[in-house]
Subunit: 389 residues, 2 copies
């Protein structure tokens, strides 16, 4: 039944606006000419308010995962001791990356569904007495739908002279983030989340303090050497061939985000998270993050009731009800599903995702009153628009 018109609720890749798709269909140009430089400058300028920084932002052809390596090899000497804060699977992956690159990893681990506690970071950094050169953390842990108090953790790191490196892949654009004000040293994101583009671009910025530290560092690196990007910035040129069509798309997406208004974009994401949580509470299913505080505005993780097979649940939602939900990752693979609500997603899209949860439960034989969860989400939305009047 129009199976190709699926509602995509994975937490990245996210749906592409038609304006972005149209922009990406534009013809190839000479990337060493003025036409590309104009796009480069426009994109760089429109990104600064999203990062909340006066620093230069570099756009690199690569997956989000290239952000970990780019941040590390440019700003931290290989062999140095770093702290990885791990609240989920992406935190875990960053540990792997750091170890593979030759860093010595100290960890702070939290149970799935928890956020990091700045007091723990302070205690650990105090105990380590200046041996930790960098603190690595996700702003939003995509695998659990929980975010971290970046500002408070950055403040603790600064006290101990450690760089703060933030993976804001599934948050930047959708969350409040203030690189300069919060004292974040390095932050990176990907094109396929709140920035409403296909995957393929990694975007990264570094503070003056980070660049100062970089001067002393001679790590082995080539493709992800940010100095080459930095040297080209004034000329509005990339060191290697830029991913042109993705650049066109990013320009169109940034235009849309600014037209909506960055504060409105963040408010929309907060609203959608709240709609999901209030709806799920009516279903008998349990939120992985039960506390409202630090519950993600971009992805909601839900525990399965005993007896529901994860694979059956998601394939039913997709094949019978046309909604693509995400599964769990790592240890949570069989025990949760996730609703992505980031990027080119509206409250109406969230209603469809929630209807699919109800419909799928009912189809699989669980007692469900159809419309109850959707109705709870509608009520949250109505309350929101009433307050806006």
């Amino acid at each position: 039944m129009l199976n190709e018109k699926l509602a995509l609720h994975t937490p990245g890749p996210t749906p592409i606006p038609p304006q972005v798709a149209a922009a990406m269909a534009r013809p190839m140009i000479n990337h060493r000419g003025e036409a590309f430089s104009a796009i480069y400058r426009d994109v760089a300028e429109k990104l600064q308010p999203i990062f909340q920084t006066r620093e230069q932002i570099y756009v690199i052809p690569g997956s989000g995962s290239s952000g970990w390596e780019t941040a590390m090899v440019n700003f931290v000497p290989v062999g140095a001791r770093v702290l990885n804060i791990v609240i989920g699977d992406f935190g875990e992956r960053w540990v792997k990356a750091n170890k593979a690159l030759g860093f010595e990893v100290a960890r702070l681990d939290y149970a799935a569904g928890s956020s990091a506690n700045p007091a723990d970071v302070a205690a650990l950094l105090g105990k380590e007495q200046g041996t930790i050169k960098a603190v690595c953390l996700q702003q939003n842990e995509t695998s659990t739908g929980v975010f971290n108090p970046v500002r408070e953790i950055a403040a603790e790191a600064a006290k101990h002279g450690a760089l703060v490196i933030v993976d804001a892949i599934s948050s930047l654009g959708a969350f409040p983030f203030a690189m300069d004000e919060w004292g974040v040293d390095i932050v990176f994101t990907g094109s396929q989340k709140a920035l409403m583009c296909p995957p393929g671009l990694m975007l990264i910025a570094a503070s003056q303090r980070a660049w100062k530290a970089a001067e002393q560092i001679r790590n082995p690196r080539f493709y992800l050497d940010l100095h080459a990007y930095r040297q080209g910035f004034e000329r509005a040129q990339t060191p290697y061939t830029p991913a042109l069509s993705l650049y066109y798309g990013l320009q169109a997406a940034l235009e849309m985000l600014h037209e909506e208004g960055l504060a409105n974009v963040q408010e929309r994401h907060y609203l959608m998270g709240k709609m999901c949580r209030e709806a799920i509470k009516t279903t008998g299913l349990e939120l992985l993050r039960q506390d409202e505080q630090f519950a993600s505005p971009t992805v909601t993780a839900v525990k399965f009731t005993q007896g529901i097979a994860a694979r059956t649940f998601r394939s039913t939602a997709s094949k019978v009800f046309g909604v693509v939900l995400a599964g769990g990752q790592g240890a949570l693979k069989e025990t949760i599903f996730r609703i992505g609500h980031m990027g080119y997603i509206t409250p109406n899209d969230v209603l469809v995702a929630l209807a699919s949860v109800e419909n799928t439960l009912a189809y699989l034989g669980y007692p469900v009153e159809t419309g109850k969860a959707v109705g709870a989400a509608q009520a949250v939305w109505l309350e929101h628009v009433r307050q806006e009047r």
Copy 2:
């Protein structure tokens, strides 16, 4: 709030699938070459099962409204007496077209929300004793969300030697229709309804009996002279420049309809109509067509509760809740709204449209239990998929 991502629920234009949009972006070609002829033949072949005919189908650059004139000036002598069956605003418009073209119009009128009764047609044709040369009717009256029993009316017309001309603009593709089997002489539709394309193409077919009648007819006509199209059919060429990008789009849309399966497409439309009706019944609003029989699978008309201003209702649904509903036409302008559910629309889209009805009522201060109407529609959908198992 992402205001440009509106859910379009007008009964035409309807949303365009990305595949159709992509096809329309293809470059222009020489329309007198083999590349276009191949598209022409493919489209002609894929249209026949939708019309359920062995006759040739012609694709003409024009609005749906050009269908009335094309059908009349090619197959009925100007000045002849014709019967117009009027169950709503589009029936009324056809009367105007016929009068403007110089036909003598007899009418059968029905109240808004009613369908035509074949017995009335039989009685009128009997009384007229062969003076009526053609019976003109809509299969689906877009302004009221009611359809007519075309097959039964065609049978009555045949008994009295009158041609049957059917405007299937808002039905063809979404409804069962069997031109040859039902004895329909002329049928036409538009590209922007169930055929999932932008407006701009009118598609028309005529029976052998109609073509035989056409031989004697010397009406003034030029652009809409179907003989010119007929002469080009074997060569797969149009008499005038075809609307190339719309042709590309139509080819892609037909490919999608056949892939879904024509019976499945019709079933989807029936399901969506049923979902709307069962949902509306829970809201306290009243369906314009209360009887299930002849209630349209492509558009549902709903009466306003006293006190709701039509303009406020629709602008709230659109501006606050992101759903574009249609207003009433003609005499129904202030008293109804309509939900279009045809073409590239899924049951999930219908849930969003219904949520917007609830949300808008609640926002405007009417007592509404959010989720009740949506839940009723979900229940209809669930029942449908359970039966399919």
